[in-house]
């Protein structure tokens, strides 16, 4: 027997067992979730039904919806701004190539990891409980969450910089501050800004949802409309959200291209 077929046989065995394992896991999961085919179809049809009920959307709510949408934009904007500012010092501490102490940078990274475990929605729940319902809780939730996410990305940017210009500045006799200003900042600033803009895009989506737990923005309208099953209102809210998010997506992509 040729030696190759042993390897082939083992590969085949692995593939087949992976396949069978996946099927078993799938069946187990489906059973656990308690969905049988009939329910699935019934559920899908009622959802399709509801999409039908959303249109035509309730235009009388348009101005209200737009105002709330602007609130969500504000939450996303302020939250991203807060996160961008707070993330900078943390990123400098956490980056391994700036401070000599590796314990300090390890600590910085752990702080960032800890913040990043909390999705903004959960943070929003806590902030609503502490600061009361409204935009403040929302923007704080987005702000803190963004600090964690941006902090990690900023750290990556700092660790990736080209050290050549730094050597050149040091060789010419510049002091530490001048080295940072001439050689480091021009490298990291555009990256920081582009990263923040992308974060704003993501935060925009998150902010629309925060109102569902009382943290302001268009989610508030949605929450009430869903509670009372007023589907045409849900419809107009969804339309405004889709349009708003799309505008933000395109502007963000355009701006980011211009910067980098």
């Amino acid at each position: 027997m040729r030696p190759e077929s042993n390897v082939r046989k083992r590969d085949k065995f692995i593939r087949w067992s992976a396949f069978i394992l996946s099927v078993i896991v799938l069946i187990w999961a489906t059973l656990g979730v308690n969905i049988n085919f009939g329910e699935l179809i019934a559920g899908i049809s009622s959802i399709v039904n509801i999409f039908g009920l959303m249109f035509p959307p309730d235009m009388s709510y348009l101005s209200n919806t737009l105002v709330r949408m602007m609130e969500s934009v504000t939450i996303a904007l302020l939250g991203t701004a807060i996160g961008s500012v707070l993330a900078v010092p943390v990123a400098f501490i956490a980056a391994q190539n700036l401070f000599a102490s590796s314990f300090v940078s390890w600590l910085g990274r752990q702080i960032l990891n800890a913040i990043r475990t909390f999705p903004s929605l959960i943070l929003a729940v806590f902030f609503v409980a502490s600061f009361g319902p409204g935009q403040l809780a929302g923007l704080l939730a987005v702000g803190i969450h963004s600090t964690g996410m941006l902090g990690k990305l900023y750290t990556d940017v700092i660790e990736d910089i080209d050290t050549g210009p730094i050597s050149a500045m040091e060789a010419s006799g510049a002091n530490k501050l001048e080295v940072l200003w001439y050689a480091v900042f021009p490298q990291i600033l555009p990256e920081f800004i582009a990263t923040s803009i992308y974060r704003f895009e993501i935060n925009m989506r998150a902010s629309t949802v925060l109102g569902l737990v009382g943290a302001g923005g268009i989610g508030v309208i949605l929450s009430q409309a869903l509670n009372y099953r007023r589907w045409p209102v849900v419809g107009i809210a969804l339309i405004v959200i889709v349009i708003g998010v799309t505008i933000v997506d395109y502007s963000s992509a355009y701006l980011r291209k211009k910067i980098v």
Binding site: G164, S167, A171, S172, G173, N175, Y182, A183
Partner: protein, 261 residues
């Protein structure tokens, strides 16, 4: 008085590699020195020990009779501002303009607040423009550094070092990334600076034909030791083979291109 003196200079890197072993020689003001040797022979280490980008582990380096291995941070910055350096990979600040890159070389001569605010005196701006003019790249003064070709970027590097108004210019493999005609242009610029401005120039090269053509004095390193120190006219192929410890390959000659001046 010699401008630079190496006394038993030794550099051993943390991993145990002995990059320089007991190197001693003097350099007079205004000399044009080319350092040759195989990769890893210690050329780069020698240059970097001269402005303490790399610390000496033994011996002394004297700049204008001052031992740089023993000075404090401020004195070191003062000394470094009198020594210009250009690099194989140019080390320009890519997104900044050429002007800003050259002004960055002048940074050590200006108070920090001027650097941070970007408010530069006319005198210093003149020096920047003059430096750019001297390497014939004045018209690119406000272009972004990464828009330039390799040869142009290296000339900006030279301008940046010039803007320091240095006594000594260190060039670490300045032409290794450039094509032959551009390499000759850069070497001519260095020669020009040396002859017209009286700046002492030390260049690392691994192209022996360039070394012979532009160097006045050749320093040969082999495995961290000084194995040759003499005028360029006194060298021939055997000299270099001795320095390298083997026969010369085609890679060690840059040749010429028909478009050269």
């Amino acid at each position: 008085m010699s401008v630079l003196e190496y006394k038993n200079l030794s550099v051993t890197y943390p991993g145990g590699v002995e990059a320089l072993k007991n190197v001693s020689f003097e350099i007079e003001k205004g000399e044009f020195i080319v350092v040759v040797g195989l990769s890893g022979a210690g050329k780069s280490t020698l240059l970097r020990a001269t402005n303490r980008l790399v610390d000496a582990t033994g011996g002394e380096v004297l700049f204008n009779n001052q031992d740089i291995t023993k000075v404090n941070k401020r004195e070191l910055r003062d000394i470094r501002s009198d020594i210009g350096m250009i690099f194989q990979s140019f080390n320009l600040i890519k997104r900044s303009s050429v002007f800003r890159n050259v002004m960055a070389g002048r940074a050590s001569h200006l108070p920090t607040w001027r650097n941070l605010l970007g408010i530069y005196p006319e005198h210093d701006k003149d020096i920047v423009f003059n430096s750019l003019d001297r390497v014939n790249i004045l018209e690119k003064a406000f272009a972004r550094a990464d828009e330039l070709s390799g040869g142009q970027q290296q000339r900006v590097g030279i301008a940046r070092a010039l803007a320091q108004e240095p006594q000594v210019m260190l060039a670490d493999e300045p032409v290794a990334s450039l094509d032959p005609p551009t390499s000759h242009m850069v070497m001519k610029d260095l020669q020009n600076i040396n002859r017209e401005l009286g700046i002492t120039v030390i260049v690392n090269l691994h192209f022996i034909d360039l070394a012979k053509e532009y160097g006045e004095r050749i320093i040969g390193l082999n495995n961290g030791e000084l194995v040759f120190d003499g005028p360029a006219e006194a060298t021939d192929k055997e000299t270099f083979e001795m320095i390298y410890g083997r026969s010369i390959t085609a890679e060690e000659e840059i040749g010429r291109d028909s478009s050269v001046i």
